[in-house]
Symmetry: D2
Subunit: 326 residues, 4 copies
């Protein structure tokens, strides 16, 4: 359940305020260079610190404890640990009584018979995406000529990037949070990846994208707007012998199979659920409505840190699709 992939397999473990977050990566091609600097750039992009993100200060130092010898992958499972250092587990006790709206507190409590780790949402925390980024960094090295690029396309409903800083600042001041849309482009993907049933490229990518906390939707190519188009408008004529199409409205995928064009998708992130602004919600102990304000260190717009995570999961999905196709 906590594993993704068929040949390139990624397993996630850890908790937000436990000893560590970590990842086991199986199917790494032997001989690939793996050391701390491989992860550095991507980890930096994920790290909080930019305006609008949490003040939790984790160093995110990757500890490679298996699968690497003399700086290269041996072919055995690669395990990377990220020790947690800046933990404040005491912040979370009260959410057993008053589950936070939009959080997993209630659902997890039912699922795990109240034994779930509440500290910082435990295994549900965005903290665990550090493992996805580590696996993604290795995946990127494995998929060679493919270039993956994700970026915030829209923030708080605003497309004009120049308006974002003030929107974030305003939300922060009001103890509120903002959502965003992240767009991802994967170029250099060869045609022929994926299956008609059930492992279409869209299926494989959406499966892992929806494990990123806070995702509400995904669309490929023209996406939802295609539903309002006519066939003659949406159809994407081929324009050359390499399979290139003129508009790529299908996002690089036909019938679930990559067609050699850019794989293009967009991911909708909700605004962070943790806000200091007062909310009315239910107290499960006192059995009455109550007011809840969530203090602590939270992102005003965690989606600002999401592009590298989206890139990482895309790289993981493509690495697996490529190994399966070979």
């Amino acid at each position: 359940m906590n594993t993704y992939g068929r040949i390139f397999r990624v397993g996630i473990f850890g908790e937000s305020h436990g000893p560590c977050a970590g990842v086991v990566i199986d199917g790494v091609i032997p001989g690939i260079e793996i050391n701390r600097s491989v992860f550095e750039e991507d980890l930096k992009r994920r790290r909080p610190g930019i305006s609008g993100t949490t003040s939790r200060a984790e160093q995110d130092i990757p500890e490679i404890v298996s699968g690497v010898c003399n700086g290269v992958a041996t072919g055995a499972p690669v395990t990377v640990l990220f020790r947690n250092t800046d933990m404040r587990p005491e912040d979370y006790e009260k959410f057993k009584e008053v589950p936070r709206p939009g959080h997993s507190d209630f659902a997890a409590s039912v699922k795990y018979n109240h034994y779930n780790d509440m500290r910082g949402s435990g295994p549900f925390s965005g903290r665990l995406t550090v493992g996805l980024v580590a696996a993604g960094a290795i995946a990127k090295k494995m998929i060679g000529g493919i270039s993956i690029n994700a970026y915030v396309k829209e923030l708080g409903g605003l497309r004009d990037e120049s308006e974002w800083p003030s929107a974030i600042e305003k939300a922060r001041r009001e103890g509120d949070s903002l959502g965003a849309i992240v767009e991802c482009r994967c170029s250099g993907v060869k045609p022929g990846l994926g299956e008609p049933f059930f492992d279409s490229v869209e299926s494989c990518i959406s499966h892992i994208v929806f494990s990123i906390p806070g995702v509400r939707g995904i669309e490929f190519g023209d996406g939802f707007s295609a539903s309002a188009m006519r066939g003659s408008e949406h159809n994407d004529p081929f324009c050359g012998s390499d399979g290139k199409t003129s508009k790529n409205g299908s996002g690089g995928i036909n019938g679930g199979i990559s067609n050699g064009n850019e794989i293009l998708f967009r991911v909708a992130f909700k605004p962070a659920s943790s806000i200091s602004k007062m909310q009315r919600t239910y107290d499960f102990v006192r059995e009455e409505m109550t007011a809840l304000g969530i203090s602590g260190r939270h992102d005003t717009c965690f989606a600002l840190r999401a592009p590298v995570i989206v890139e990482s999961v895309a790289a993981i999905a493509l690495a697996d699709l490529m190994l399966v196709a070979e």
Copy 2:
């Protein structure tokens, strides 16, 4: 690859214009009544014939060839065949030279080294969804108290149902096609299904939804519109001890886990790629652009037949999630 699910497992096989479409369903609870009439209503909803759909006339008679004895499931894999009767394979030869825009012709040809079955798109055809509907009918019987209801929410960009018939008629006359958005509601789902990584409820549903031909996007709860909301607006306060929330903007899922509210998602369908209207596209043999009009029997708006397919895959995903959770 052509199998979905961990405990409730569904395998699809067959081709549009080969001998049959079929499905193998593993993990069926022994004792469930299975006979032709179990499939009848759902198959009827999928069948063409309503305005705006193809004139291909398949009887869709389910032939149950394994897993059932004396009218009840035995616990062994249930296999259901649907013989193809109204085939016209000769329609498709030319698409080897001039792949249809928006179709799998080109991508499949690369993937399968030109050995792919082109007849009616072979295994990529919407015809294969008949197997999904058969599996869904059994899944619905397995998930007891859950009620699943899908319907066209928007057609050709129009929300007002009264405008659809004329829009369809106009598109049909012009040899064009229309897309649609299908909304699906699953009520009665108990809290606690799904996993934080990687098998979130959204992951499991989106994975199988994206194997339905023609899907361009999926969103849960507030979906893409959540990305333009503030946390205080999107957050969904609990309002009772059963976990019911006031707005269900998360679509019944928190942290990947069902929270007991209605699971709500929307699926964007593109307009059908097969249109009789002339299109300019590439001739891979003559290596030049050419004009292509696709005759044959095609849906003006195949999404009209899609709700029951969306219901079916939702039922399959939920049946598997429930068996895993037990």
Copy 3:
């Protein structure tokens, strides 16, 4: 559950006295020639008729209903059906009350809550191995240079082949049955297949070998006799740069990985459980011991038909290991 393999995937369905036995084979390399004659020779070896086997007369005509177009594999799942024709379901009713010793009657009845198909042991029947043989015939075509050869090594405890006919005839006359040991050699397997944990070559082969009905044990290379050897005696020195060893006591596998030598294993088959000789066993309805003699058409030594089945599952396991390794 009823599927084997990761990339080359085989799913079995059907019942002994239901409409058919069948198999779905996923991951077949496109372009491989597939027609009835591909299966013929292996099916013939599996068919009863030789002395010491059942008189049930099934034609075993393979009906290829998907995945093949113009006589070659398309890359889509290949489904093969074998219609049952010579059924006598009425033979089996009484075993609900008096489960046959050595048969699955009792265990299956508990597992499937008494809904299991008792007719000819339903899905537990040796009849279903016809699907394994069909999948094996395709697997053999996929694994090119590998040659697989299985044969009865020992029958009824006798190593001298010349003594078998009289032993079989004697057992048959006395209404009894005989076991056997089948040995299998796979030559031409390249080194490097398999995984240390958990998918060793032995793990993958033993997994599928133990789904053949009636198997009691499996050993590789020196097998159980290795446990009585010293290291200096069992160790297998390399004797050339291609990795060939002098004794192959490890059966072509070191550390779970193929080493380029012949993969050699032996499978122990029990004597058939169905015997006409009277047995004392429990009557679950009358709650007392009773006498049971099983009439019908049964093999005196079904292991005579087993070598081709052992070859088939070895081919399936190796095809999957090779596709994973590529």
Copy 4:
């Protein structure tokens, strides 16, 4: 590949002379008490030190880094690390040139394109079974009423336990090693676990047993000796309404399904490949035969440490079978 199980999933990682050996265990029932003492007894049984085993001195202190909060399982993946402390990696360099007979050196080198970790056999080492034992300790807690007991049945071909010490001492003095047969009994297993195809109880157990280094064979119930029996002799009459049989020659399994009797199997372990006695083998650099004596710290009879490992993998297999069946 390095994962076993469908619902109770165990992933192994680490190397003999790298930083650690470890295990990730998914599907642990929330609320189960997990602390160091849970592992203590089983780890002690696996630890070297008894006569006939290696002098490598690892403390085997389990470091629980995920999935546990306040001493109980939370339902998230449980990760346990065992830091390596007593490493001598320099011992292994020469085996790149002269692969050790019976070891994975050569096969792994081909598989991993010479990037494999040679130090102490890297991920192929018996060291990694420490993770199996940790997972097994948790599995044992999950399978409640089932009691699993494994023991050395035969050592160096000797059934009489009183002869073992002198046999071991003799082999040790001569720089040689001994094999053994380990027998395992699982009582209290409820009937109905397993599948006819392909996940029979034997398939699931043999799959994981063959990932224990040094296993050459496995047999259930009467095992290989059944092949020399007659049906009337091997058949196992029921003798009571709970499904108990009189002889349990089928080892508690009929048709791949547990029948409620004791699950009984035997595992053949080869003698350790590492012996100090001189062997003639191939030098892959000089391309000639050479003499090889393996110094270092090795077990004369590692099978003495194997019973707890066999118990552990049996517990893992049964835990998964039970969760699937529920």
